[in-house]
Structures are given as C-alpha cells and as structure tokens.
C-alpha cells in the first residue's frame, strides 16, 4: 500500500520539477495575462503561452522526438515549413494591395523600413552570434511573425521560441515603440501634411497585381517562392471574385487551424534549458534595435523622397513600412491625427504597410539564399 503511494509520487511531475521550469511557468502566466487581459496579439500569444506551460511540466514528453504530440505538430508543421506558407495564403486573401497600386512609390517605403533588419544583422554578429543566428534575430525588425518563424526555423531552429516571442511582443508594442521615434524625426509641419486622395483602382489592376508580382519577385529572388507563391495565390483568390469559398477558407478556417498548431508548437520549443540563457536577453535587445531602426529608416526615406517629389508625402507613413499590418498603419494615422485632426492618413499608410510585408519577405529570402542550405 505504502509502495503504491511512493511510486505515484516518484512518477509524478513534482519530484522532477526544476527551478527553471518554475521560471518558465511564470513567463507563461505573464504572457497568458498579456494575451487575455491586455489582448496583446492574443491569437498567437495565448496558444504560445500554453505551449510554454505544458512543455515545462516534467515527464510529459510532449516535445519528445517521434512520440510527443506537440513534437509532431512542430515537426510536420514548422520544420517541414508547411504552416508559415499557409498563413501567408490567408494573409494574401485578407490583403488589399489597392493603396500600393494607386501609389507605387510606397513600395520603396516598404523596402526602406527593412534597413533595421540588415543593420541588426551586423550588430548581432558583433554581439557574438553566428551568421545564421544573427539573421534569425535581425528579421524581427521586419515585424512579420510568419516570416520570422519561417527564417528562424530554417537557419537557427533552437532560437525559434525566443525569436518568435520577441517578434510578437514588439508587434504588440508597436503603438508604444514607434510614436516617439516618429515624432523625434519629423517636424510638426511635416506631420500635418495632408495627402491627396488615392485614385480608385480598377478590378483588372487588382487581379493582375498578384500574378505579375509573384512572377517578378520569384524570378529575382527564387528562394522567396514558398511564401510568395502562397501569399499571391491567396490575394488572387480574393481579387478574382470567383472563388469566394476558397477565399473565405483561406482567411478563416484554414488560417485559424494553422494558427493553433503554430502557436502551441512555437510555445513548446521554449523549455527552460533553451530559454533561460543569457543570449535570450540579447535577442530581445537586438529585436528592439531592429524594430527601432526600421521605423526610423522608413521615416527618413520618406523625408528623402520628399526632396524630389512635387506632391509631398507625409513622412509618418514611412514608419508603416515595418509590416505589422494593420497596426503600424494605424499608428501612423494616429500620430498624424494628433497634429491635424482633419488628416486621415490610414489608407495612405496601408500602402507602405502591405509593401512592408513584401519587403520583409524579400529580406528573409535574401538571407536564406546566402545562408541557407
């Protein structure tokens, strides 16, 4: 009788619990709180936080190779690189490229806001990270979750957890991180610039855009194919107007299903041994640098363009070039409205915003070309 109790206790998780596990529980609870109470990116942070919690329960072996349930999600979904492209399919089906087509100059801004990615890559090398790690960390500056996960799982899978959490944390903090930088780099008069209304975009243009963009970008940067193909296919679904069922499935059901598997898998990579290392702090610091430099470079490029443009653009929309759709565009709109309440910048900011997604995708693909297998 006594033996049964003894066995039960020895085989329970309690005796095997480490301090590291407990610290990870705390991190999981904090993320859970932020997701539920503060609604910071809850669609991802909630499953991620739960993944962190359960993987730090001893003897559950959820991430045990070949047998663990979440390991299977992770292996077939993330390592096989299936989930991020499927998320891009959904994103494509939700994205309106109209503002980019109406004002193609904004494509430049979407590229300009990737400077933080390249700067941070070199800073990370100085910090002692190797090339693959540096690239995985730097891409945080693109503020695009699925691209970050895609690149990190390719180049430095052991950093995937912290890199993804850093990326999603900073995306949730866009309204806090960006405005001070934007205000610092612009004058009141610049923030007041009202932009001319965007021209209407025809259905034909919207249908041609994803096809031409897919071909062009994949010809130039072939390693972007997996993400780019799905992204533009989703967009073609939407703009064609003839496959509403597929559009809806991509936007809703499929997107939601893969988000669940992605969230819990990413969370479950964060065991105490992986996460509680000094380098994780550097990942968060470098991620913030990447994000800030990208914001600044977007604004500065817009100001540079204004030197040559007859019709001035409001430089605040440059900051929306970090992807984080549509949060960054909203921030640009809000900061502009603070200076002039009659200024509705949101649609203008959507241009660099969606162009930023393409920009981040290209930045990641370039790194993949030079560093990947």
């Amino acid at each position: 009788m006594f033996k049964v109790f003894e066995d039960l206790i020895v085989n329970s998780g309690f005796v095997h619990l480490t301090w590291g596990n407990l610290v990870m529980w705390v991190i999981a609870f904090v993320l859970m709180y932020l997701a539920i109470k503060k609604q910071y990116e809850p669609l991802l942070l909630l499953p991620i936080s739960f993944g962190i919690l359960v993987v730090n329960l001893p003897l559950t072996f959820l991430m045990e190779p070949n047998t663990g349930l979440i390991w299977r999600f992770y292996h077939y979904g993330v390592e096989w690189e299936i989930i991020p492209p499927l998320i891009f399919l959904g994103l494509g089906a939700m994205t309106d490229f109209g503002p980019v087509i109406a004002n193609p100059k904004t494509l430049l801004l979407g590229g300009g806001a990737q400077v933080g990615v390249y700067v941070t890559f070199f800073v990370a090398l100085v910090f002692g990270f190797n090339m693959n790690e540096a690239a995985s960390i730097a891409i945080i500056g693109g503020a695009d979750g699925p691209t970050t996960i895609y690149l990190a799982s390719h180049l430095a899978p052991y950093l995937l957890g912290p890199v993804a959490v850093a990326a999603y944390s900073y995306m949730a903090m866009v309204p806090i991180v960006q405005p001070p930088i934007m205000k610092l780099l612009t004058t009141e008069a610049e923030r007041k610039i009202v932009m001319k209304k965007l021209r209407p975009v025809s259905k034909m243009e919207k249908i041609v855009f994803p096809v031409v963009t897919a071909v062009l970008i994949m010809m130039i940067v072939p390693s972007s194919a997996a993400l780019m193909a799905m992204f533009m296919l989703g967009n073609l679904f939407k703009e064609s107007g003839v496959v509403e069922r597929l559009t809806k499935a991509s936007q809703n059901e499929l997107m939601n299903i893969v988000t669940i598997f992605l969230g819990i898998s990413v969370g479950a990579t964060m065991t105490a041994e992986v996460f509680l290392q000094s380098q994780v702090i550097f990942i968060f610091i470098l991620g913030l640098i990447a994000f800030s430099v990208s914001t600044a470079s977007g604004v500065l490029l817009a100001k540079l363009m204004n030197l040559f443009l007859k019709e001035k653009i409001n430089p605040l929309i440059g900051a929306a070039g970090v992807s984080a759709v549509p949060m960054a565009a909203r921030v640009a709109h809000k900061v502009a409205a603070e200076a002039n309440r009659q200024n509705y910048l949101i649609m203008h900011a959507m241009g660099p915003n969606v162009a930023g997604v393409i920009g981040t995708l290209i930045a990641a693909s370039v790194m993949l070309t030079f560093l990947g297998k």
Partner: protein
C-alpha cells in the same frame, strides 16, 4: 454648412452626437470601424448637428456623407 464624409469604406461603430447637439471643430463625433480598427472621425466645422444620415452598424462607402453640421 459642412458635411462630414467617410474618409474610407467601413462600418459605423459609434455615433457620439444627436441632432441638435452643438459641436466644435475637431470634436470626435463618429467612430468608424474599418479593417478591424476603430477610426475616430472628427467634426470638420463648428456648429449644430443638423442631420445624421447613418446609424450605428451601417456600412458606408468612401466619401459617403455621414452627417451635416450647420
């Protein structure tokens, strides 16, 4: 007389004024929901709200007149 138009396509989320209310230029009078975001719409002039042409929950297109200030 000034009309307040929708700066973008979206849904009327909240109307903060009634007909007959006095408003100042830049008062937040309507909240529009577009692309899953709430966007406040401010009065384009000072005066009295003469007519409200939409109700909460309505879908509006770009440039549609939301209300008239006199």
């Amino acid at each position: 007389m000034a009309s307040v138009n929708a700066p973008m396509e979206g849904k009327v989320f909240k109307i903060n004024v009634n007909v007959g209310d006095k408003v100042q230029m830049d008062d937040e009078i309507i909240v529009l929901e577009a692309m899953k975001m709430e966007t406040p719409i401010y009065a384009s002039d000072s005066g009295t709200v003469k007519e409200i042409k939409v109700k909460e929950g309505d879908s509006v297109s770009e440039d549609q007149v939301l209300l008239v200030i006199e």
